[in-house]
Amino acid sequence: MQLKMTEKDDAVILAVEDERMDAHNSGNLKEKMLQLFDEGKYQLVIDLSAVRFIDSSGLGALVSGFKNASARDGSLRLCCLQPQVRSMFELTRLHRVFEIFASLDEALESQS
């Protein structure tokens, strides 16, 4: 999986650059997040603007990051979901679990 990482204050922004998140590539995202947690970086924003397709494995990787961030008093926020990706969070009711923002700026501003 192509991931672009940028830091903004104490937040790390990971932009997924693949169109597709499935069992073939979602493991990379999970590992990258674990590595960031190891480095003491607990405030993550995942920018999904490029993602056109996500399956249960992609959602699972995001849940994993969310749980690990929460366990460290950090956060994992999502932004820029394409409509069909957004529908997947609704189908699996994960829109109630994640904080989802329309834009990257809104996600960054909302940091508590």
Binding site: D22, D55, S56, G60, S64, R93
Partner: protein
Amino acid sequence: MSKRVELNIKVPNQTSYLAMVGQIGESLAFSLKNYRGNRRELAYHLNLCLTEALTNAIYHGNASDPDKYVHITISASDDDLIIKVYDQGQGFDLDTRHKLKANPCDEGGRGVNIILKLMDDVRCLQEKGVNVLEMKKRLH
């Protein structure tokens, strides 16, 4: 009776083929004549159900064995669509499994539920001793 499109796909037991198989489902959705629903949505759903079923066949059915294969058939008419995913495993009991209530914070366990929500009829059965997940969808 309307004419059917038949697709028969055999891929090595590797997740690198998920995208191809999913996209075949998308392309099929756009080639169906007389479909009156939301085609983009149907395309996503077929991509998704194929991806979920193939992922399970690779990891659960074929236990990640890189020497095995997964076999997929898709048969579509204007009226309905039947997808079958064959693996070399033991199969599983769809009824007991999907009754287990998933915890919203579990990492896994969403694949079969997604298929059950999006398809009209889903069965896990044996065909000549081979495990097959059969998914049917009405197209109107």
